[in-house]
Amino acid sequence: MTESVAINSHRYQRWTDRPIRRRWAWPAITAAGVRLANKGNRTRGLVWMSLGFALLSCGLFYVLAQLEILAGTPEAAGLYEFVKTILGVDLSGVSRLAEFREVLWRSAFLFLFKAELYWAFLVAAFAGPGLIADDLKARALPIYFARPVTPFSYLLGKVMVIAFFVSLAILLSNLLGLIFGVIVTGGLATTAQTIRLGLDLLLCGGAATLFMGVLMLALSSMSSDKRYVTVGWVAVGVLPMMVQAILLEQLPREATSRWLGSISLYGDIAVLTEWWFGISQAWATTPLPREAFREALGRGTDPVYPGVVLLAIAVASVWFCYRRVLKFSRSAANV
Protein backbone atom coordinates (compact mmCIF):
# COMPACT_ATOMS: atom_id res chain seq x y z
CA MET A 1 0.00 0.00 0.00
CA THR A 2 1.06 3.56 -0.59
CA GLU A 3 2.43 5.16 2.55
CA SER A 4 -0.26 7.19 4.31
CA VAL A 5 0.52 10.92 4.16
CA ALA A 6 -1.39 14.10 4.89
CA ILE A 7 -3.44 15.33 1.93
CA ASN A 8 -1.38 18.52 1.61
CA SER A 9 1.95 16.79 2.09
CA HIS A 10 4.49 17.45 -0.61
CA ARG A 11 6.73 14.53 0.20
CA TYR A 12 7.57 11.97 -2.44
CA GLN A 13 5.22 8.99 -2.32
CA ARG A 14 6.51 5.57 -3.29
CA TRP A 15 4.30 3.63 -5.69
CA THR A 16 3.86 0.10 -4.53
CA ASP A 17 0.15 -0.41 -5.21
CA ARG A 18 0.65 -2.78 -8.10
CA PRO A 19 3.80 -4.36 -9.41
CA ILE A 20 4.85 -3.34 -12.90
CA ARG A 21 4.07 -6.15 -15.29
CA ARG A 22 6.44 -6.27 -18.18
CA ARG A 23 4.48 -5.54 -21.33
CA TRP A 24 5.45 -5.19 -24.92
CA ALA A 25 6.68 -1.66 -25.48
CA TRP A 26 5.88 -1.50 -29.19
CA PRO A 27 2.08 -1.05 -28.89
CA ALA A 28 2.68 2.05 -26.72
CA ILE A 29 5.18 3.38 -29.28
CA THR A 30 2.73 2.73 -32.11
CA ALA A 31 -0.21 4.32 -30.31
CA ALA A 32 1.82 7.42 -29.47
CA GLY A 33 3.19 7.63 -33.01
CA VAL A 34 -0.27 7.37 -34.58
CA ARG A 35 -1.66 10.01 -32.21
CA LEU A 36 1.19 12.40 -32.94
CA ALA A 37 1.08 11.89 -36.73
CA ASN A 38 -2.69 12.29 -36.68
CA LYS A 39 -2.34 15.74 -35.10
CA GLY A 40 -1.17 17.09 -38.46
CA ASN A 41 -4.09 18.38 -40.53
CA ARG A 42 -2.66 17.08 -43.80
CA THR A 43 -2.12 13.57 -42.46
CA ARG A 44 -5.56 13.55 -40.88
CA GLY A 45 -7.08 14.70 -44.16
CA LEU A 46 -5.28 11.96 -46.08
CA VAL A 47 -6.43 9.36 -43.56
CA TRP A 48 -10.05 10.38 -43.99
CA MET A 49 -9.64 10.41 -47.75
CA SER A 50 -8.18 6.89 -47.55
CA LEU A 51 -11.54 5.76 -46.30
CA GLY A 52 -12.90 6.93 -49.65
CA PHE A 53 -11.32 3.81 -51.11
CA ALA A 54 -13.57 1.74 -48.88
CA LEU A 55 -16.57 3.53 -50.37
CA LEU A 56 -15.19 3.07 -53.89
CA SER A 57 -14.60 -0.59 -53.18
CA CYS A 58 -18.13 -1.10 -51.82
CA GLY A 59 -19.58 0.82 -54.79
CA LEU A 60 -17.69 -1.33 -57.28
CA PHE A 61 -18.87 -4.55 -55.67
CA TYR A 62 -22.43 -3.25 -55.59
CA VAL A 63 -22.19 -2.74 -59.37
CA LEU A 64 -20.77 -6.25 -59.85
CA ALA A 65 -23.57 -7.70 -57.73
CA GLN A 66 -26.14 -5.82 -59.80
CA LEU A 67 -24.49 -7.07 -62.96
CA GLU A 68 -24.80 -10.67 -61.76
CA ILE A 69 -28.52 -10.10 -61.24
CA LEU A 70 -29.18 -8.21 -64.46
CA ALA A 71 -26.73 -10.11 -66.73
CA GLY A 72 -28.18 -10.88 -70.13
CA THR A 73 -30.94 -8.29 -69.84
CA PRO A 74 -31.03 -5.00 -71.78
CA GLU A 75 -30.70 -3.10 -68.45
CA ALA A 76 -27.18 -4.55 -68.00
CA ALA A 77 -25.72 -2.82 -71.08
CA GLY A 78 -24.61 0.23 -69.12
CA LEU A 79 -23.12 -1.93 -66.37
CA TYR A 80 -21.13 -4.00 -68.91
CA GLU A 81 -19.71 -0.77 -70.32
CA PHE A 82 -18.86 0.49 -66.84
CA VAL A 83 -16.98 -2.72 -65.96
CA LYS A 84 -15.14 -2.64 -69.30
CA THR A 85 -14.02 0.95 -68.71
CA ILE A 86 -12.98 0.50 -65.10
CA LEU A 87 -11.57 -3.03 -64.99
CA GLY A 88 -10.66 -3.58 -68.63
CA VAL A 89 -12.79 -6.73 -68.71
CA ASP A 90 -15.29 -7.10 -71.53
CA LEU A 91 -18.09 -9.36 -70.39
CA SER A 92 -20.61 -8.40 -73.07
CA GLY A 93 -22.90 -11.27 -73.85
CA VAL A 94 -21.93 -13.32 -70.78
CA SER A 95 -25.16 -14.13 -68.96
CA ARG A 96 -24.15 -16.40 -66.04
CA LEU A 97 -21.72 -14.05 -64.36
CA ALA A 98 -21.68 -15.85 -61.00
CA GLU A 99 -19.48 -18.48 -62.64
CA PHE A 100 -16.90 -15.80 -63.46
CA ARG A 101 -17.09 -14.26 -60.00
CA GLU A 102 -13.60 -15.10 -58.81
CA VAL A 103 -11.78 -13.86 -61.90
CA LEU A 104 -13.94 -10.77 -62.02
CA TRP A 105 -13.36 -9.99 -58.35
CA ARG A 106 -9.64 -10.56 -58.68
CA SER A 107 -9.59 -8.07 -61.57
CA ALA A 108 -11.59 -5.63 -59.46
CA PHE A 109 -9.24 -5.91 -56.50
CA LEU A 110 -6.19 -5.57 -58.72
CA PHE A 111 -7.63 -2.38 -60.14
CA LEU A 112 -8.39 -1.05 -56.64
CA PHE A 113 -5.02 -2.15 -55.26
CA LYS A 114 -3.07 -0.30 -57.95
CA ALA A 115 -5.05 2.88 -57.33
CA GLU A 116 -4.66 2.55 -53.57
CA LEU A 117 -0.94 1.96 -53.89
CA TYR A 118 -0.51 5.45 -55.40
CA TRP A 119 -2.36 6.85 -52.45
CA ALA A 120 -0.36 4.79 -49.95
CA PHE A 121 2.92 6.26 -51.24
CA LEU A 122 1.46 9.71 -50.68
CA VAL A 123 0.14 8.90 -47.19
CA ALA A 124 3.51 7.46 -46.18
CA ALA A 125 5.21 10.66 -47.40
CA PHE A 126 3.20 12.63 -44.84
CA ALA A 127 2.94 10.18 -41.95
CA GLY A 128 6.36 8.55 -42.00
CA PRO A 129 9.33 10.93 -42.33
CA GLY A 130 9.28 12.13 -38.73
CA LEU A 131 9.10 8.72 -37.12
CA ILE A 132 12.77 8.42 -36.20
CA ALA A 133 13.93 11.81 -37.51
CA ASP A 134 11.80 13.67 -34.93
CA ASP A 135 13.20 11.57 -32.09
CA LEU A 136 16.72 12.34 -33.31
CA LYS A 137 15.95 16.03 -33.59
CA ALA A 138 14.38 16.20 -30.13
CA ARG A 139 17.17 13.98 -28.73
CA ALA A 140 14.40 11.84 -27.31
CA LEU A 141 16.14 8.49 -27.71
CA PRO A 142 17.38 8.34 -24.09
CA ILE A 143 13.79 8.05 -22.88
CA TYR A 144 13.39 4.86 -24.89
CA PHE A 145 16.71 3.20 -24.26
CA ALA A 146 16.90 4.05 -20.57
CA ARG A 147 13.69 1.95 -20.32
CA PRO A 148 13.21 -1.72 -20.98
CA VAL A 149 12.82 -1.03 -24.71
CA THR A 150 14.96 -2.96 -27.17
CA PRO A 151 15.93 -1.58 -30.58
CA PHE A 152 13.69 -4.26 -32.09
CA SER A 153 10.66 -3.13 -30.05
CA TYR A 154 11.37 0.47 -30.96
CA LEU A 155 11.56 -0.30 -34.68
CA LEU A 156 8.52 -2.55 -34.58
CA GLY A 157 6.53 0.18 -32.82
CA LYS A 158 7.59 2.73 -35.42
CA VAL A 159 7.00 0.51 -38.45
CA MET A 160 3.50 -0.21 -37.18
CA VAL A 161 2.74 3.52 -37.26
CA ILE A 162 3.26 3.58 -41.03
CA ALA A 163 1.52 0.24 -41.31
CA PHE A 164 -1.52 1.76 -39.61
CA PHE A 165 -1.81 4.66 -42.05
CA VAL A 166 -0.90 2.73 -45.19
CA SER A 167 -3.09 -0.24 -44.37
CA LEU A 168 -6.12 2.04 -44.03
CA ALA A 169 -5.80 2.59 -47.76
CA ILE A 170 -4.54 -0.72 -49.13
CA LEU A 171 -5.80 -3.28 -46.65
CA LEU A 172 -8.80 -2.09 -44.69
CA SER A 173 -10.71 -0.66 -47.66
CA ASN A 174 -10.19 -3.87 -49.66
CA LEU A 175 -11.29 -6.09 -46.80
CA LEU A 176 -14.37 -3.92 -46.26
CA GLY A 177 -15.09 -4.15 -49.98
CA LEU A 178 -14.72 -7.93 -49.89
CA ILE A 179 -17.07 -8.28 -46.92
CA PHE A 180 -19.58 -5.98 -48.59
CA GLY A 181 -19.30 -7.94 -51.83
CA VAL A 182 -19.87 -11.22 -50.00
CA ILE A 183 -22.95 -9.80 -48.27
CA VAL A 184 -24.58 -8.40 -51.42
CA THR A 185 -23.92 -11.47 -53.56
CA GLY A 186 -25.25 -14.22 -51.37
CA GLY A 187 -23.28 -14.62 -48.16
CA LEU A 188 -21.90 -18.03 -47.23
CA ALA A 189 -21.74 -19.47 -50.73
CA THR A 190 -19.66 -16.53 -51.90
CA THR A 191 -17.42 -16.79 -48.82
CA ALA A 192 -16.27 -20.24 -49.81
CA GLN A 193 -15.67 -19.01 -53.36
CA THR A 194 -13.60 -16.00 -52.32
CA ILE A 195 -11.76 -17.07 -49.17
CA ARG A 196 -8.50 -17.52 -51.08
CA LEU A 197 -8.95 -14.05 -52.51
CA GLY A 198 -9.30 -12.63 -49.00
CA LEU A 199 -6.01 -14.28 -47.97
CA ASP A 200 -4.29 -12.95 -51.09
CA LEU A 201 -5.51 -9.46 -50.27
CA LEU A 202 -4.15 -9.75 -46.74
CA LEU A 203 -0.82 -11.06 -47.96
CA CYS A 204 -0.28 -8.53 -50.75
CA GLY A 205 -1.56 -5.59 -48.68
CA GLY A 206 0.48 -6.66 -45.67
CA ALA A 207 3.66 -7.17 -47.69
CA ALA A 208 3.32 -3.81 -49.45
CA THR A 209 2.65 -2.11 -46.11
CA LEU A 210 5.67 -3.65 -44.42
CA PHE A 211 7.90 -2.90 -47.38
CA MET A 212 6.92 0.77 -47.34
CA GLY A 213 7.29 0.83 -43.56
CA VAL A 214 10.85 -0.48 -43.44
CA LEU A 215 11.98 1.65 -46.36
CA MET A 216 10.54 4.76 -44.74
CA LEU A 217 12.17 3.90 -41.40
CA ALA A 218 15.54 3.45 -43.07
CA LEU A 219 15.20 6.88 -44.67
CA SER A 220 13.92 8.41 -41.44
CA SER A 221 16.91 7.12 -39.49
CA MET A 222 19.31 8.86 -41.88
CA SER A 223 18.56 12.42 -40.87
CA SER A 224 17.22 14.43 -37.97
CA ASP A 225 15.47 16.75 -40.42
CA LYS A 226 12.30 15.18 -41.75
CA ARG A 227 12.24 17.47 -44.78
CA TYR A 228 15.25 15.61 -46.14
CA VAL A 229 13.50 12.32 -45.43
CA THR A 230 10.46 13.51 -47.38
CA VAL A 231 12.69 14.53 -50.28
CA GLY A 232 14.34 11.09 -50.14
CA TRP A 233 10.96 9.34 -50.19
CA VAL A 234 9.76 11.42 -53.12
CA ALA A 235 13.00 10.69 -55.00
CA VAL A 236 12.91 6.95 -54.30
CA GLY A 237 9.19 6.24 -54.28
CA VAL A 238 7.04 8.95 -55.81
CA LEU A 239 9.02 10.40 -58.73
CA PRO A 240 9.78 7.07 -60.48
CA MET A 241 6.14 6.16 -59.98
CA MET A 242 5.03 9.33 -61.76
CA VAL A 243 7.57 8.88 -64.55
CA GLN A 244 6.39 5.33 -65.08
CA ALA A 245 2.75 6.41 -65.14
CA ILE A 246 3.52 9.11 -67.73
CA LEU A 247 5.53 6.74 -69.95
CA LEU A 248 2.88 4.05 -69.82
CA GLU A 249 0.26 6.61 -70.73
CA GLN A 250 2.22 8.24 -73.54
CA LEU A 251 3.84 5.27 -75.25
CA PRO A 252 1.73 2.88 -77.30
CA ARG A 253 1.13 -0.43 -75.57
CA GLU A 254 3.09 -2.41 -78.14
CA ALA A 255 6.10 -0.10 -77.78
CA THR A 256 6.34 -0.50 -74.01
CA SER A 257 8.56 -3.41 -73.26
CA ARG A 258 7.93 -5.61 -70.26
CA TRP A 259 10.55 -3.90 -68.09
CA LEU A 260 8.65 -0.61 -68.19
CA GLY A 261 6.15 -2.10 -65.81
CA SER A 262 8.74 -2.22 -63.05
CA ILE A 263 10.94 0.83 -63.29
CA SER A 264 9.61 2.12 -59.97
CA LEU A 265 8.95 0.63 -56.55
CA TYR A 266 5.27 1.14 -57.26
CA GLY A 267 5.65 -0.78 -60.50
CA ASP A 268 7.56 -3.58 -58.77
CA ILE A 269 4.85 -4.00 -56.15
CA ALA A 270 2.13 -3.85 -58.81
CA VAL A 271 3.87 -6.48 -60.97
CA LEU A 272 4.29 -8.83 -58.03
CA THR A 273 0.66 -8.32 -57.02
CA GLU A 274 -0.49 -9.05 -60.59
CA TRP A 275 1.57 -12.21 -60.55
CA TRP A 276 0.34 -13.29 -57.12
CA PHE A 277 -3.29 -12.57 -57.96
CA GLY A 278 -2.91 -14.94 -60.89
CA ILE A 279 -5.37 -13.27 -63.24
CA SER A 280 -3.77 -15.13 -66.16
CA GLN A 281 -4.42 -18.52 -64.60
CA ALA A 282 -7.92 -17.50 -63.57
CA TRP A 283 -8.66 -16.22 -67.08
CA ALA A 284 -7.38 -19.44 -68.62
CA THR A 285 -10.12 -21.36 -66.81
CA THR A 286 -12.82 -19.27 -68.51
CA PRO A 287 -14.11 -19.69 -72.05
CA LEU A 288 -13.60 -15.98 -72.70
CA PRO A 289 -11.04 -14.75 -75.29
CA ARG A 290 -7.82 -13.12 -74.07
CA GLU A 291 -8.94 -9.79 -75.54
CA ALA A 292 -11.76 -9.73 -73.00
CA PHE A 293 -9.15 -9.33 -70.26
CA ARG A 294 -6.83 -7.03 -72.17
CA GLU A 295 -6.14 -4.47 -69.40
CA ALA A 296 -6.68 -6.75 -66.43
CA LEU A 297 -4.00 -9.18 -67.55
CA GLY A 298 -1.32 -6.50 -67.31
CA ARG A 299 1.87 -6.54 -69.37
CA GLY A 300 3.11 -9.91 -68.26
CA THR A 301 6.27 -8.53 -66.71
CA ASP A 302 8.54 -11.21 -65.30
CA PRO A 303 8.08 -11.15 -61.49
CA VAL A 304 11.62 -12.32 -60.72
CA TYR A 305 13.36 -9.02 -61.27
CA PRO A 306 10.85 -6.91 -59.24
CA GLY A 307 10.83 -9.58 -56.55
CA VAL A 308 14.60 -9.54 -56.21
CA VAL A 309 14.70 -5.73 -56.19
CA LEU A 310 12.01 -5.41 -53.52
CA LEU A 311 13.51 -8.15 -51.37
CA ALA A 312 16.97 -6.62 -51.59
CA ILE A 313 15.67 -3.16 -50.68
CA ALA A 314 13.61 -4.53 -47.80
CA VAL A 315 16.53 -6.54 -46.35
CA ALA A 316 18.94 -3.63 -46.78
CA SER A 317 16.44 -1.24 -45.15
CA VAL A 318 15.88 -3.51 -42.15
CA TRP A 319 19.62 -4.07 -41.73
CA PHE A 320 20.41 -0.37 -42.09
CA CYS A 321 17.79 1.00 -39.72
CA TYR A 322 18.46 -1.72 -37.14
CA ARG A 323 22.17 -0.86 -37.17
CA ARG A 324 21.40 2.83 -36.85
CA VAL A 325 18.98 2.36 -33.96
CA LEU A 326 21.37 -0.05 -32.24
CA LYS A 327 24.06 2.60 -32.51
CA PHE A 328 21.72 5.27 -31.13
CA SER A 329 20.66 3.00 -28.29
CA ARG A 330 24.27 2.43 -27.28
CA SER A 331 25.02 6.11 -27.11
CA ALA A 332 21.67 7.20 -25.70
CA ALA A 333 23.16 8.52 -22.44
CA ASN A 334 25.51 10.70 -24.50
CA VAL A 335 22.94 11.98 -26.99
Binding site: R14, I20, A25, R139, I143, P148, V149, R330, A332
Partner: protein
Protein backbone atom coordinates in the same frame (compact mmCIF):
# COMPACT_ATOMS: atom_id res chain seq x y z
CA UNK B 1 20.30 -2.81 1.28
CA UNK B 2 22.47 -3.58 -1.79
CA UNK B 3 24.95 -0.99 -3.05
CA UNK B 4 23.59 1.55 -5.53
CA UNK B 5 26.16 0.27 -7.99
CA UNK B 6 29.49 -1.47 -8.08
CA UNK B 7 32.20 -1.68 -10.72
CA UNK B 8 35.02 -4.19 -10.86
CA UNK B 9 37.93 -3.33 -13.11
CA UNK B 10 35.49 -1.77 -15.53
CA UNK B 11 37.05 -0.58 -18.78
CA UNK B 12 35.63 0.92 -21.93
CA UNK B 13 37.64 1.70 -25.00
CA UNK B 14 36.52 3.41 -28.20
CA UNK B 15 39.33 2.51 -30.60
CA UNK B 16 42.45 4.08 -29.15
CA UNK B 17 40.51 6.26 -26.72
CA UNK B 18 40.09 4.88 -23.22
CA UNK B 19 36.86 6.23 -21.75
CA UNK B 20 37.02 4.13 -18.56
CA UNK B 21 40.24 2.65 -17.29
CA UNK B 22 39.87 -0.33 -14.94
CA UNK B 23 37.37 1.41 -12.69
CA UNK B 24 36.71 -0.32 -9.38
CA UNK B 25 34.12 1.25 -7.18
CA UNK B 26 31.35 0.39 -4.76
CA UNK B 27 28.80 3.13 -4.13
CA UNK B 28 26.40 2.72 -1.24
CA UNK B 29 22.80 3.91 -1.32
CA UNK B 30 22.21 7.62 -0.73
CA UNK B 31 22.71 10.81 -2.70
CA UNK B 32 26.07 10.72 -4.43
CA UNK B 33 27.64 13.37 -6.63
CA UNK B 34 29.53 12.43 -9.78
CA UNK B 35 32.02 15.09 -10.73
CA UNK B 36 34.58 15.39 -13.44
CA UNK B 37 35.65 17.56 -16.35
CA UNK B 38 34.28 16.94 -19.85
CA UNK B 39 35.60 13.64 -21.17
CA UNK B 40 36.15 12.24 -17.69
CA UNK B 41 33.97 9.21 -18.45
CA UNK B 42 30.86 10.16 -16.44
CA UNK B 43 28.37 9.66 -19.29
CA UNK B 44 30.10 6.45 -20.37
CA UNK B 45 29.80 5.14 -16.82
CA UNK B 46 26.07 5.99 -16.70
CA UNK B 47 25.59 4.45 -20.13
CA UNK B 48 27.24 1.20 -19.00
CA UNK B 49 25.24 1.15 -15.78
CA UNK B 50 22.02 1.53 -17.79
CA UNK B 51 23.10 -1.40 -19.94
CA UNK B 52 23.20 0.74 -23.07
CA UNK B 53 26.91 0.44 -23.78
CA UNK B 54 28.70 -2.88 -23.28
CA UNK B 55 31.91 -2.60 -21.29
CA UNK B 56 35.14 -3.66 -22.98
CA UNK B 57 36.16 -5.56 -19.87
CA UNK B 58 35.27 -5.81 -16.20
CA UNK B 59 31.92 -6.09 -14.47
CA UNK B 60 29.31 -3.74 -13.12
CA UNK B 61 26.09 -4.16 -11.18
CA UNK B 62 23.23 -1.87 -10.22
CA UNK B 63 21.08 -2.72 -7.16
CA UNK B 64 22.93 -6.03 -7.09
CA UNK B 65 21.91 -6.87 -10.69
CA UNK B 66 24.59 -7.60 -13.27
CA UNK B 67 24.36 -5.01 -16.06
CA UNK B 68 25.52 -7.44 -18.74
CA UNK B 69 22.72 -9.95 -18.06
CA UNK B 70 19.88 -8.13 -16.30
CA UNK B 71 19.53 -4.98 -18.39
CA UNK B 72 15.75 -5.02 -18.58
CA UNK B 73 15.33 -5.49 -14.86
CA UNK B 74 17.85 -2.76 -14.12
CA UNK B 75 16.05 -0.33 -16.41
CA UNK B 76 12.80 -1.01 -14.57
CA UNK B 77 14.47 -0.07 -11.31
CA UNK B 78 16.40 2.93 -12.55
CA UNK B 79 15.17 6.38 -13.55
CA UNK B 80 17.31 8.48 -15.84
CA UNK B 81 17.24 12.24 -16.40
CA UNK B 82 19.39 13.00 -19.45
CA UNK B 83 21.17 16.28 -19.86
CA UNK B 84 19.32 17.28 -23.02
CA UNK B 85 15.65 18.11 -23.35
CA UNK B 86 14.59 14.76 -24.84
CA UNK B 87 10.96 15.89 -25.00
CA UNK B 88 8.74 14.64 -27.78
CA UNK B 89 7.23 17.55 -29.76
CA UNK B 90 3.45 17.61 -29.77
CA UNK B 91 3.03 15.78 -26.47
CA UNK B 92 1.60 17.45 -23.39
CA UNK B 93 3.39 17.05 -20.07
CA UNK B 94 0.80 14.50 -18.98
CA UNK B 95 0.97 12.57 -22.26
CA UNK B 96 4.75 12.49 -22.16
CA UNK B 97 5.10 11.19 -18.61
CA UNK B 98 2.30 8.65 -19.13
CA UNK B 99 3.99 7.46 -22.35
CA UNK B 100 7.29 6.95 -20.55
CA UNK B 101 5.45 5.02 -17.83
CA UNK B 102 4.02 2.71 -20.46
CA UNK B 103 7.47 2.24 -21.97
CA UNK B 104 8.59 1.13 -18.52
CA UNK B 105 5.93 -1.58 -18.59
CA UNK B 106 3.01 0.05 -16.74
CA UNK B 107 -0.59 -0.35 -17.86
CA UNK B 108 -2.32 2.78 -19.16
CA UNK B 109 -4.44 3.30 -16.03
CA UNK B 110 -1.49 2.81 -13.67
CA UNK B 111 0.74 5.06 -15.77
CA UNK B 112 -1.90 7.81 -15.85
CA UNK B 113 -2.56 7.65 -12.10
CA UNK B 114 1.13 7.74 -11.35
CA UNK B 115 1.69 10.55 -13.91
CA UNK B 116 -0.59 12.87 -11.98
CA UNK B 117 1.10 11.96 -8.70
CA UNK B 118 4.59 12.77 -9.95
CA UNK B 119 3.49 15.91 -11.82
CA UNK B 120 1.94 17.16 -8.58
CA UNK B 121 5.17 16.31 -6.82
CA UNK B 122 7.33 18.33 -9.23
CA UNK B 123 4.73 21.15 -9.08
CA UNK B 124 3.79 21.26 -12.74
CA UNK B 125 0.15 21.97 -11.84
CA UNK B 126 -2.02 23.13 -14.77
CA UNK B 127 0.95 23.37 -17.13
CA UNK B 128 0.77 19.59 -17.42
CA UNK B 129 -1.88 19.93 -20.12
CA UNK B 130 0.22 22.25 -22.28
CA UNK B 131 2.52 20.96 -25.05
CA UNK B 132 5.90 20.28 -23.44
CA UNK B 133 7.80 22.30 -26.05
CA UNK B 134 6.13 25.45 -24.67
CA UNK B 135 7.64 24.90 -21.22
CA UNK B 136 10.34 27.11 -19.72
CA UNK B 137 13.75 25.54 -19.06
CA UNK B 138 12.92 25.02 -15.40
CA UNK B 139 9.62 23.35 -16.22
CA UNK B 140 11.35 21.08 -18.73
CA UNK B 141 13.85 20.01 -16.08
CA UNK B 142 11.01 19.22 -13.68
CA UNK B 143 9.16 17.32 -16.39
CA UNK B 144 12.29 15.27 -17.03
CA UNK B 145 12.48 14.48 -13.34
CA UNK B 146 8.79 13.46 -13.40
CA UNK B 147 9.34 11.04 -16.30
CA UNK B 148 12.25 9.48 -14.41
CA UNK B 149 10.05 9.00 -11.33
CA UNK B 150 6.88 7.72 -12.98
CA UNK B 151 7.71 4.05 -12.46
CA UNK B 152 9.01 4.69 -8.92
CA UNK B 153 12.64 3.71 -9.41
CA UNK B 154 15.00 2.64 -6.62
CA UNK B 155 17.90 4.47 -8.23
CA UNK B 156 17.98 7.78 -10.12
CA UNK B 157 20.72 8.86 -12.48
CA UNK B 158 20.53 12.63 -12.91
CA UNK B 159 22.67 14.28 -15.57
CA UNK B 160 22.90 18.03 -15.00
CA UNK B 161 19.35 18.34 -13.60
CA UNK B 162 19.73 22.04 -12.70
CA UNK B 163 21.22 23.19 -16.00
CA UNK B 164 19.75 26.50 -17.18
CA UNK B 165 17.53 26.99 -14.14
CA UNK B 166 17.16 30.26 -12.27
CA UNK B 167 18.33 30.34 -8.60
CA UNK B 168 14.82 29.80 -7.25
CA UNK B 169 14.18 26.90 -9.62
CA UNK B 170 17.55 25.40 -8.74
CA UNK B 171 16.78 25.58 -5.05
CA UNK B 172 13.43 23.95 -5.65
CA UNK B 173 14.97 21.17 -7.76
CA UNK B 174 17.65 20.52 -5.16
CA UNK B 175 15.05 20.24 -2.40
CA UNK B 176 13.17 17.70 -4.53
CA UNK B 177 16.38 15.69 -4.93
CA UNK B 178 17.05 15.87 -1.18
CA UNK B 179 13.48 14.72 -0.51
CA UNK B 180 13.90 11.79 -2.90
CA UNK B 181 16.96 10.76 -0.90
CA UNK B 182 14.89 10.87 2.29
CA UNK B 183 12.23 8.72 0.58
CA UNK B 184 14.83 5.98 0.13
CA UNK B 185 15.73 6.56 -3.52
CA UNK B 186 19.43 6.45 -4.27
CA UNK B 187 20.55 9.30 -6.48
CA UNK B 188 23.64 9.64 -8.64
CA UNK B 189 23.89 13.33 -9.43
CA UNK B 190 26.24 14.22 -12.25
CA UNK B 191 26.79 17.97 -12.38
CA UNK B 192 29.29 20.68 -13.14
CA UNK B 193 27.66 22.93 -10.55
CA UNK B 194 29.67 22.06 -7.47
CA UNK B 195 27.60 24.15 -5.03
CA UNK B 196 24.55 22.06 -6.06
CA UNK B 197 26.43 18.84 -5.37
CA UNK B 198 27.75 20.23 -2.11
CA UNK B 199 24.25 21.14 -1.04
CA UNK B 200 22.46 17.82 -1.52
CA UNK B 201 25.06 15.07 -1.70
CA UNK B 202 26.53 13.15 1.17
CA UNK B 203 29.31 11.65 -0.91
CA UNK B 204 31.06 12.44 -4.18
CA UNK B 205 33.04 10.62 -6.80
CA UNK B 206 35.53 12.72 -8.72
CA UNK B 207 36.49 11.27 -12.09
CA UNK B 208 39.14 12.26 -14.58
CA UNK B 209 40.65 10.49 -17.56
CA UNK B 210 38.39 7.48 -17.07
CA UNK B 211 39.56 6.89 -13.51
CA UNK B 212 38.27 7.66 -10.04
CA UNK B 213 40.50 10.43 -8.75
CA UNK B 214 38.86 10.73 -5.39
CA UNK B 215 35.73 9.52 -3.64
CA UNK B 216 34.21 9.67 -0.21
CA UNK B 217 32.21 11.88 2.15
CA UNK B 218 32.12 15.51 1.17
CA UNK B 219 33.07 16.57 4.69
CA UNK B 220 36.08 14.28 4.58
CA UNK B 221 37.21 15.77 1.28
CA UNK B 222 37.01 19.33 2.51
CA UNK B 223 40.32 19.53 4.34
CA UNK B 224 40.72 21.87 7.34
CA UNK B 225 42.71 25.03 6.72
CA UNK B 226 44.91 25.46 9.80
CA UNK B 227 45.26 29.25 9.49
CA UNK B 228 41.65 30.18 8.69
CA UNK B 229 38.93 30.53 11.30
CA UNK B 230 35.45 31.94 11.61
CA UNK B 231 34.99 33.78 14.89
CA UNK B 232 31.53 34.42 16.43
CA UNK B 233 31.38 37.05 19.13
CA UNK B 234 29.02 39.39 21.01
CA UNK B 235 28.80 43.09 20.27
CA UNK B 236 29.84 45.02 17.18
CA UNK B 237 33.46 43.82 17.50
CA UNK B 238 35.09 46.96 16.02
CA UNK B 239 37.68 47.14 18.76
CA UNK B 240 38.21 43.37 18.66
CA UNK B 241 38.89 43.41 14.93
CA UNK B 242 41.23 46.37 15.22
CA UNK B 243 43.19 44.54 17.88
CA UNK B 244 43.34 41.42 15.69
CA UNK B 245 44.76 43.46 12.83
CA UNK B 246 47.44 44.84 15.15
CA UNK B 247 48.47 41.27 15.87
CA UNK B 248 49.01 40.55 12.15
CA UNK B 249 45.71 38.63 11.89
CA UNK B 250 44.08 39.33 8.54
CA UNK B 251 40.34 40.10 8.61
CA UNK B 252 38.93 38.42 5.51
CA UNK B 253 35.25 39.21 5.88
CA UNK B 254 33.22 40.80 8.61
CA UNK B 255 29.54 40.57 9.43
CA UNK B 256 27.29 41.26 12.37
CA UNK B 257 28.73 39.24 15.27
CA UNK B 258 30.99 37.16 13.06
CA UNK B 259 34.24 37.54 11.18
CA UNK B 260 36.47 35.35 9.05
CA UNK B 261 40.14 35.66 9.85
CA UNK B 262 43.45 34.34 8.58
CA UNK B 263 46.27 33.80 11.07
CA UNK B 264 49.84 34.79 10.17
CA UNK B 265 51.01 31.23 10.83
CA UNK B 266 49.88 27.79 11.97
CA UNK B 267 49.30 27.52 15.71
CA UNK B 268 48.73 31.25 16.24
CA UNK B 269 45.14 30.81 17.55
CA UNK B 270 46.29 32.43 20.81
CA UNK B 271 46.24 35.81 19.04
CA UNK B 272 42.45 35.61 18.72
CA UNK B 273 42.01 34.75 22.38
CA UNK B 274 44.40 37.51 23.44
CA UNK B 275 42.55 40.11 21.36
CA UNK B 276 39.23 39.01 22.88
CA UNK B 277 40.59 39.19 26.41
CA UNK B 278 42.17 42.59 25.90
CA UNK B 279 39.00 44.10 24.41
CA UNK B 280 36.57 42.34 26.78
CA UNK B 281 34.86 40.65 23.85
CA UNK B 282 32.91 37.52 24.65
CA UNK B 283 33.59 34.82 22.05
CA UNK B 284 30.71 32.55 21.07
CA UNK B 285 32.53 30.28 18.67
CA UNK B 286 35.83 29.60 16.96
CA UNK B 287 35.44 27.39 13.88
CA UNK B 288 38.32 26.24 11.72
CA UNK B 289 37.49 26.72 8.02
CA UNK B 290 37.57 23.85 5.61
CA UNK B 291 38.34 23.96 1.92
CA UNK B 292 35.37 24.02 -0.46
CA UNK B 293 34.37 21.10 -2.67
CA UNK B 294 35.56 23.13 -5.63
CA UNK B 295 39.04 23.32 -4.16
CA UNK B 296 39.02 19.58 -3.44
CA UNK B 297 37.89 18.99 -7.04
CA UNK B 298 40.58 21.22 -8.51
CA UNK B 299 43.23 19.62 -6.31
CA UNK B 300 42.20 16.14 -7.51
CA UNK B 301 42.34 17.25 -11.16
CA UNK B 302 45.74 18.87 -10.64
CA UNK B 303 47.10 15.74 -8.99
CA UNK B 304 45.95 13.74 -12.02
CA UNK B 305 47.52 16.19 -14.47
CA UNK B 306 50.83 16.17 -12.58
CA UNK B 307 51.09 12.38 -12.68
Amino acid sequence: MPAMFTCEKLSKRYGVITALNSLSLSVEAGIVGLLGPNGAGKSTLISILLGQTPATSGRASVCGLDVARRQRMIRQRVGFVPENDCLIPGMTGTGYVCYVGKLAGMSHSDAMQRTHEVLDYVELDEARYRPAEQYSTGMKQRLKLAQALVHDPDVLFLDEPTNGMDPQGRRSMLSLIADLGRAGISVLLSSHLLPDVERVCQRVIIMGGGEVLSSGDIEGMRRPRPTRYTVDFEGDGAEFCRRLSEQQVKIRTRGNGTTAVELPDIGEEGAILRAARETNTRLRGLHPERSSLEEAFMAAIERQQNR
